[in-house]
């Protein structure tokens, strides 16, 4: 059999190419699908083993038989033809079997099996149609043989896509490999084919189609190896070897055909027959689970060109040293390939590093930008867009100074860069700075940043990592304000104490006992106030830091409300405010002292801010899983925008309230802390029509205990409340 066989062999193996992907993929349904390559070998049914043995035996018979052994060249060629077909069929069967029984790489092996079917179909058609005689070139069989390359290439592309990560580099590699292989191949084959015996254009085309098809597959295999970082599994290596055998055989075939020296059924056909069977072997090789990545054989970048140079040399020798120039061209191609491969490797790692850097910058939590000395923005990440409003597309190429810096900072920035460029004085460069910049909407925002100059061949580029510190500033400001307020609030009673005691100690009041007594009283009162304030601050700190252990006890909401009201009644009386108590209901588990303190604080506030003659209501009510406490007054109320703020420390509605009303400014903050410690919630609403209504909930069951049926009586006590217009 002749040329036909040529095209037929280009298949590759698929599973072998998956070697670098370590972990087994989740597999499908059947029992065989469940195998774990890490622990089990690929299970091989006896039929598979039998087929492999049969295929290898056929190849051996083919190899050892002497030409003419079976009764003359025609009979010999006849047997050779069918032997060839049988080997291809066995290879295809093994690949198909693998695809059916193992889910791993199923698509790849199916495609390879399909390629073998085309090969067998082409051979059979040729044998039936033309027998062992030379058929026309091209014949219809060539259609099958050329078509063989399509599923085979698809199978390889599938594997490459799974293994490679940088699509651009993959395509580039393929082009380079095809170009280099083409140059080697052209040196041997093209010249010979074109200068050979007479052939039609179609004849040339079909003869060349096979080595060219092999060339494409070779490029793909190379690419696959490169995408696998040159770590080839045993199965992959076997397939690569098969492929090389086919490539060499096809090339020699093209050469011999061009010189009309090809003899069907000769030893050259072994170069097609054996790989058919070996493909089947590769299909059933177990994944190299035992070979770690480090141990796996590596084909260096230099190996590829060296292989081709050797191939060139081999071809030259085979052709009987017909043209020594061919060797020179082959070696030059090898050297060129070497350079190109080195370049490709470098370029790929550059691309990978670039992609990686980009990824790091884009996923960074902090805004990043680069700008040139001229001030043109050259990089801008997603975090920068989120923080400053400008998208990358909008801001790239714009002036940093005009886009980003407030008017007042522009000149200083220009001077800084100019001085650095002129003198190398880094000044504030490479240091943590705090600056104000402009958001896209025009508002100024504080940022923290570090600017690092990087010298490039085009001059300096400046990289800036930034961080929006608006929130931090707010916290710092709040902290400073808190410290200032605490300091001020503590110094106020101290002033009175220091003053009154100073006057007593100074002796100026010795003649005026009434005044002296008055000064003592002032000292005493302010000492009390100071003590109150210090303990409030400490209390708040302890509650908020969780240092206070709540002592949970079963108690009744109504009782707590009454206790708090009794405590506050004298104050209400003094202020001329009526205190209405309306709470019986709400059995709960809580720290009664803390709840009473909360109620007392709320009542104290309500009384303070209520005009004389008005009423303050306090009640409790069991509502499902919670007991709700409410304190309502008819005072001046709270502006709606401050309803949330009043629970913050020293966040009086009017900064003078603390002084004006004698409070510490911490009462509501303490209330919130206590309620939250109880896993409850506290809030305030504007009253209707005036005043305000503070409410807080406390769970019936302590938060660290499973919820149970609320104790009897939880829902009681509402009767008094229902009729109470002031509440609810």
């Amino acid at each position: 059999m002749k040329a036909p066989a040529v095209g037929a062999r280009g298949s590759s193996r698929a599973s072998g190419f998956s070697g670098q992907r370590g972990a087994p993929r989740p597999s499908g349904a059947s029992g065989l699908d469940q195998f774990n390559p890490e622990h089990d070998g690929l299970p091989r049914p006896w039929g598979v083993r039998a087929l492999i043995v049969l295929g290898l035996a056929l190849a051996a018979v083919y190899a050892v038989r002497a030409p003419g052994h079976w009764g003359g060249p025609r009979v010999d060629a006849f047997f050779a033809q069918w032997l060839y077909d049988a080997a291809a069929a066995i290879g295809g069967l093994l690949c198909a079997w693998r695809a059916i029984r193992v889910s791993e790489d199923r698509a790849t092996w199916s495609l390879i099996a399909a390629a073998f079917v085309l090969e067998v179909a082409g051979n059979t058609f040729y044998a039936v149609r033309y027998g062992v005689s030379d058929g026309p070139v091209p014949s219809a069989a060539d259609g099958f043989w050329v078509a063989f390359y399509l599923p085979m290439a698809a199978a390889l592309v599938l594997r490459i896509r799974a293994a490679a990560s940088v699509a651009g580099a993959v395509i580039f590699d393929i082009l380079i490999a095809i170009g280099a292989l083409g140059s080697v191949s052209a040196a041997f084959v093209l010249q010979a084919v074109i200068g050979g015996t007479d052939r039609s254009i179609a004849g040339y085309a079909s003869t060349l189609a096979y080595p060219l098809g092999d060339l494409v597959l070779a490029a793909l295999v190379l690419q696959l190896a490169a995408a696998s970082a040159w770590r080839l599994e045993r199965a992959t290596a076997l397939m690569a070897a098969c492929f090389v055998a086919w490539g060499v055989t096809d090339t020699v075939y093209a050469f011999q055909t061009a010189h009309a020296t090809y003899v069907p059924g000769g030893v050259l056909d072994l170069g097609w027959v054996v790989p058919f069977v070996l493909f089947g072997v590769a299909a059933w090789m177990s994944p190299d689970a035992r070979i770690s990545v480090r141990e796996a054989p590596r084909l260096g970048a230099l190996g590829v060109p060296v292989c081709f140079a050797l191939l060139a040399l081999g071809m030259l020798i085979y052709s009987g040293m017909a043209d020594v120039n061919v060797l020179a061209v082959g070696l030059a191609s090898g050297a060129l390939m070497c350079v190109i491969a080195r370049f490709v490797v470098t370029f790929r790692s550059y691309l990978a590093a670039l992609a990686n850097t980009r990824l790091v910058l884009e996923t960074a939590y902090d805004p990043f930008m680069s700008f040139e000395a001229s001030g043109v923005i050259t990089d801008w990440n997603a975090a920068a867009q989120a923080s400053f409003g400008w998208s990358r597309e909008e801001v790239m190429g714009r002036s940093l100074v005009e886009t980003f810096l407030p008017e007042a900072r522009r000149e200083a920035h220009r001077r800084l860069i100019a001085r650095f460029l002129a003198t190398g004085d880094e000044d504030v460069l490479r240091r943590r700075l705090e600056r104000t910049v402009l958001h896209r909407d025009g508002h100024e925002m504080p940022i923290e940043l570090t600017i690092s100059p990087v010298a490039t061949e085009y001059g300096y580029t400046f990289h800036a990592f930034m961080r929006d510190i608006t929130e931090r500033r707010k916290v710092e400001r709040a902290k400073n304000e808190f410290v200032a307020i605490v300091s001020h609030e503590l110094r106020t009673p101290l002033t009175s104490i220091r003053g009154s005691l100073g006057l007593l100690a100074g002796g100026v009041l010795s003649a005026s006992p009434t005044k002296a007594e008055r000064m003592l009283k002032i000292a005493l009162e302010n000492t009390d106030r100071l003590v109150r304030m210090v303990s409030d601050i400490l209390n708040l700190e302890r509650i908020e830091s969780g240092a206070v252990d709540l002592i949970y006890r079963p108690c009744d909401g109504g009782q707590l409300v009454r206790s708090a009201a009794e405590t506050m009644r004298p104050a209400a009386l003094l202020a001329g405010v009526t205190l209405e108590v309306a709470g019986r209901g709400g059995a709960l588990e809580a720290d009664p002292d803390q709840i009473i303190q909360t109620l007392t604080n709320l009542l104290s506030n309500a009384i303070k801010f209520s005009p004389g003659g008005s009423t303050v209501w306090v009640e409790s009510e069991g509502l499902g899983d919670d007991v709700v406490f409410r304190v309502r007054d008819e005072g001046r109320g709270i502006p709606s925008e401050q309803l949330e703020r009043v629970f913050e420390r020293f966040a009086q509605v009017d900064s003078s309230d603390a002084r004006d009303k004698g409070g510490t400014g911490l009462g509501l903050a303490i209330c919130r802390s206590i309620v939250e410690q109880h896993a409850g919630r506290i809030w305030v609403e504007s009253g209707d029509p005036r005043g305000c209504r503070f409410q807080f909930t406390v769970p019936v069951v302590r938060p660290d205990q499973p919820r149970a049926t609320p104790p009897a009586g939880t829902q009681t006590g509402d009767s008094e409340l229902v009729g109470h217009a002031g509440l609810a």
Binding site: A484, T492, T495, S496, G499, S500, K515, M519, S656, R659
Partner: protein, 136 residues
């Protein structure tokens, strides 16, 4: 110098804290020998200053409603009170605040707590009353 020999000045003490008001008053009266009137808020201070034309005003900074600096600005805006020297008393510690107050044009900023025995002397020193009395 014995306080009895000093010229008796009329000083307006403005503070929202009753205790401080009282202590300051006693200090200035008993130690300094001055006549003291008091106001609990900025508005009251403006009214009294305009009506009584005191020789000096000791003004608290943090007060409800009209605070110290605002009160001072009103005093400055009013021709009848413009020339009354004002000393601020503050419990605020930040130097930035002090600089701001001085920039307003007050004569001095004194800290709370203060020593009631030396306060009258400090006030007299700041306002140059000692020299004036020497000349009498």
């Amino acid at each position: 110098m014995d306080s009895r020999l000093r010229p008796r000045r009329r000083i307006l003490v403005v503070d929202d804290d009753a205790s401080i008001r009282e202590v300051t008053q006693v200090s200035l009266e008993m130690v300094g020998g001055h006549a003291v009137m008091t106001a609990a808020c900025g508005r009251d201070a403006l009214a009294q200053a305009s009506r009584e034309r005191p020789d000096a005003i000791l003004l608290d900074v943090m007060m409800p409603g009209l605070d110290g600096p605002a009160t001072f600005e009103r005093l400055q805006a009013e021709p009848t009170t413009r020339d009354i020297p004002v000393i601020l008393l503050t419990a605020k510690l930040q130097s930035s605040d002090r600089a701001r107050f001085v920039a307003l044009g007050v004569r001095a900023v004194l800290s709370k707590p203060f020593d009631p025995m030396s306060l009258p002397g400090e006030v007299a020193e700041i306002l140059g009353w000692n020299q004036a009395s020497d000349g009498v």
